[in-house]
Symmetry: C2
Subunit: 387 residues, 2 copies
């Protein structure tokens, strides 16, 4: 989470923790036509440093699996660095932060989805606590009943230390964010528009409060208008950030059902709150329950279902990672930062760190001997935490 800056692109990049300038190539890649999140993920698997992508030869790019021809052209011929710098300027002026896929502090859970956004724009703060997040979504035209249930669930989740994720829409979403804040909890709003302003406008005060006690996030460049087309893609981030998604009220054509089906694809839990039959607002939730969503009456129904997931992470999801000693090398810090975000296989550590394989092996061995890193089955490594 580093503020973007106007600093010019520097040559002679060396692997280290991200600097202010490191977002320029990510912003540039975002402008390349024909390059989606999945192509992005493949590129960054091949080139640990995105800056190297723009230095790569056409033939090197052609070796990246399934990369579209227009994307290759766009990268090779890229000439919009001025616009990129201008965007960084505007981002900075708006008080917006950037986070890229390769950052250690990129939300660990979001990293696991099939199409994680390469770049996140956000206002506020994202931190490891947000790994323990549950989404509450539902109808914009919620009933009093729906609002009441959303409030009770958000309050319960906040009290249990969960970050409440939602879409900042009218109705259920707004109620979920607001109650989480009123209960002293953290909340994350994922927008389907640029993150620089509140949408819908009447949620401006809520937007300010969320930015101060959580984060407002978007993968869309600033200035992007809230057109309906953006919302389904936005919904995958709501579920992607969360252990589970609770649908409170939803008609049969509700976007909340899209969020729920994305959640299923992503291996997240889906919860639904029943209501009276005959209420069209409950029909979507009832359909989800028939399809296997867990019926939720109160927050305990959610916690019960999610508890095993928290346990499979060794019960350490809440624990802060250990701090490396002052004399740790920049390279060791880089490797450790990667593992803080979630366990990785050794190949992934090598790939993402941009370091030579023998060096990575040496660092991991040292960190393991010092008790900072733990080796698991299948050549997988995890950061040790305070617990």
């Amino acid at each position: 989470m580093i503020e973007a800056s106007l600093a010019p692109l520097t040559e002679g990049y060396s692997p280290s923790l991200p600097t202010q300038n490191d977002y320029a190539p990510w912003l540039a890649l975002r402008r390349v036509k024909g390059l989606g999140c999945v192509g992005f993920k493949k590129l960054s698997a091949q080139f640990a440093d995105p800056r190297k992508i723009f230095a790569a030869s056409r033939s090197a790019l052609e070796q990246v699996e399934d990369l579209r021809a227009d994307a290759i052209d766009g990268i090779v011929d890229f000439h919009e660095w001025a616009e990129v710098n201008d965007e960084i300027s505007r981002v900075r002026d708006a008080g917006i932060s950037l986070l890229c896929y390769s950052d250690a502090s990129y939300p660990a859970r979001l990293r696991t989805i099939a199409d994680p956004p390469p770049l996140l724009y956000f206002k506020g703060e994202l931190n490891g606590v947000d790994d323990k997040a549950v989404a509450i979504v539902g109808s914009r035209s919620a009933s009093d009943y729906g609002r009441r249930v959303a409030r009770d669930l958000a309050r319960g989740l906040a009290a249990a230390g969960f970050t409440v994720v939602s879409g900042m829409a009218r109705g259920i979403d707004g109620m979920a964010h607001e109650t989480a804040l009123n209960s002293g909890g953290r909340t994350i709003a994922v927008l389907g528009s640029g993150v620089e302003r509140a949408y819908p406008p009447e949620h401006d005060k809520l937007y300010q409060r969320i930015s101060a006690n959580g984060a407002v996030i978007s993968e869309l460049p600033i200035g992007t208008r809230p057109v309906a087309f953006n919302f389904p893609a936005r919904n995958r981030l709501i579920s992607g950030l969360s252990l589970g998604v609770v649908v409170v009220e939803a008609t049969e054509k509700s976007g909340s059902l899209i969020t729920a089906s994305l959640a299923v694809e992503q291996g997240r839990e889906v919860f639904a709150v029943p209501g009276e039959v005959g209420s069209s607002r409950s029909r979507g939730a009832h359909r989800l329950i028939r399809q296997g969503a867990k019926l939720v009456e109160n927050v305990d129904d959610i916690l019960e279902e999610i508890a095993p997931q928290l346990l499979t992470r060794g019960g350490t999801a809440n624990a802060a990672p250990l701090a490396l000693p002052q004399n740790a090398s920049a390279e060791a810090r880089k490797v450790f930062a990667l593992l803080e975000a979630g366990s990785l296989q050794i190949d992934e550590v090598i790939e993402r760190s941009g370091l030579a394989a023998p060096r990575v092996l040496q660092i991991l061995l040292e960190l393991e001997l010092q008790g900072y890193v733990r080796q698991m089955a299948g050549k997988r490594y995890a950061a040790e935490r305070n617990n």
Copy 2:
């Protein structure tokens, strides 16, 4: 379905369709201490004619598996024939009919449960149409919402030709019966007390209407008071008579949940109607849904689930059985009557008909050649129906 009579027991019983006197040994067996429904079922498997049970030697009875010693004593020493005749008299005077387990017109579906009542007391009429039955049960202190849903479902089931089964209690049960009748459908009330009077008393008019357009049933002798102890056993008949049980509103301690779990044991479908969370009246239904009950919003949700069961019976559940020709023998009629109630394996036909095996084989072959009976896989026979 034959009116009980005061006619004295006749000796020299010969296998034929049940006569008025045939219920005396069943009523007698009901008075034997230590003999429950399961013991009853075993006895009647051994002795096709219950009259032969009282003629059997102690050593013959001792060969019946798991028959309790006090039951054997009670049979051998049975001396309450006067009381039995008196009961038949009272049953007749009250306009009540009797039906025993071995009667061809005993409800086919009820026959399949683990502990079918050996004897049913009923007012009204039971017929093959009632094979297509669904139970609607729920809270006595139903909400307006619950009553409305019960009414909509009962109306839909009646319109689809289903007999609506329930317990004639206040609230949901009463609404289910009443709506079925108002919709021109059939309905069966199963009481946890003697069938000679309405319980609860304010349902007297409903009781009269049900008797005229369906049946009020009980396995309990006339004069049995409606004590709470009787209701769980009663509930197994509600589910046993039905293809499925719909729970409309139920608190967590509701008897409807007992009916639902008996339904599961009996292989019946369980349906539950959701409601608002926070309403204690919906908590039981929600629990059932979590446990796998089908969530029901409207009658189509029920029909959809039940359709396959009707289809596995060759789609003929509604069709009237063929009528045997005038010159058919009494033995052939007896065999055919057994099969009308549902398909049977050849051993069951022999056992229940009380006829010698070679004679049964001969009859079945003749009936099959004449097109009245169909042989299925596994030496199983079914009556052909008009369709």
